[in-house]
């Protein structure tokens, strides 16, 4: 069985400071992993994905994530937060090609000026 745990339901940072959103996965094999962002009243937008190539994945808007098999983690980072990064972020895993996604409960990111 697969599951995804996002360790923080809320994260607050000041503009210009680093962002860390934590995600752990549970799977009997190496899944594909994704980070999506959702702005208010919008659909989900893909930030980045890991599919067993490079373990450090770069995404849009300066975000990146590192796949660590030994820690079963896929944390999302950004060196410097911007006000426009304020949104809800979802980590997800997928087992089989074109299979359904298993989502974490989401992390609400607040960015203070």
């Amino acid at each position: 069985a697969q599951s995804v745990t996002q360790l923080d339901s809320h994260v607050s940072v000041s503009e210009g400071t680093p962002v860390l959103l934590r995600c752990n996965y549970s799977s009997s094999y190496s899944p594909s992993l994704f980070w999506y962002v959702q702005h208010p009243n919008k659909g989900l937008q893909l930030l980045l994905k890991y599919t067993s190539a490079a373990t450090l994945v770069k995404g849009i808007n300066g975000f990146e994530a590192e796949f660590k098999k030994s820690e079963t983690s896929f944390h999302l980072t950004k060196p410097s937060a911007h006000m426009s990064d304020a949104a809800e972020y979802f980590c997800a895993s997928r087992g089989s090609t074109l299979g359904r996604l298993y989502f974490g409960r989401g992390t609400q990111l607040t960015v203070w000026p």
């Binding site: 594909s32 994704f34 999506y36 919008k42 659909g43 989900l44 937008q45 893909l46 994905k49 599919t51 979802f90 997928r94 090609t97 074109l98 299979g99 359904r100 996604l101 298993y102 989502f103 974490g104 409960r105 989401g106």
Partner: protein, 114 residues
């Protein structure tokens, strides 16, 4: 190109009524998924269509929920005899192997059951 579109964007209905939610996929995407997003339950998988294969209905919460995909394109999610707990945002996503299996999401339909 055009993304995934969903209609209506908002739907308010009375308890006990039936509703239909529509999803128009990205052209050529063979896989189509329905998810539900609610405050208490987060993002839940409902159903998945892939080409001509039998759909994976394992996420449908009750027999009041059904979905079909006509001609491998447009999909309709039907909820019969709606209940207040059906109030949620219903999200559709589509994917294709040509695009690396990434699921692209529509803007969702917000359903409110009074």
């Amino acid at each position: 190109g055009a993304g995934v579109s969903q209609s209506p964007s908002n739907k308010v209905t009375e308890k006990g009524k039936d509703v239909e939610l529509r999803c128009d996929p990205i052209s050529g995407h063979t896989a189509l998924y329905w998810y539900r997003q609610s405050l208490g339950q987060g993002l839940e998988f409902l159903i998945y269509f892939q080409g001509n294969s039998a759909p994976d209905k394992s996420g449908l919460p009750s027999d009041r929920f059904s979905a079909e995909r006509t001609g491998g394109s447009v999909s309709t999610l039907t909820i019969q005899r709606t209940q207040q707990e059906d109030s949620a945002v219903y999200l559709c996503a589509t994917a294709s192997r040509r695009e690396g299996d990434t699921q692209y999401f529509g803007p969702g339909t917000r359903l409110t059951v009074l």
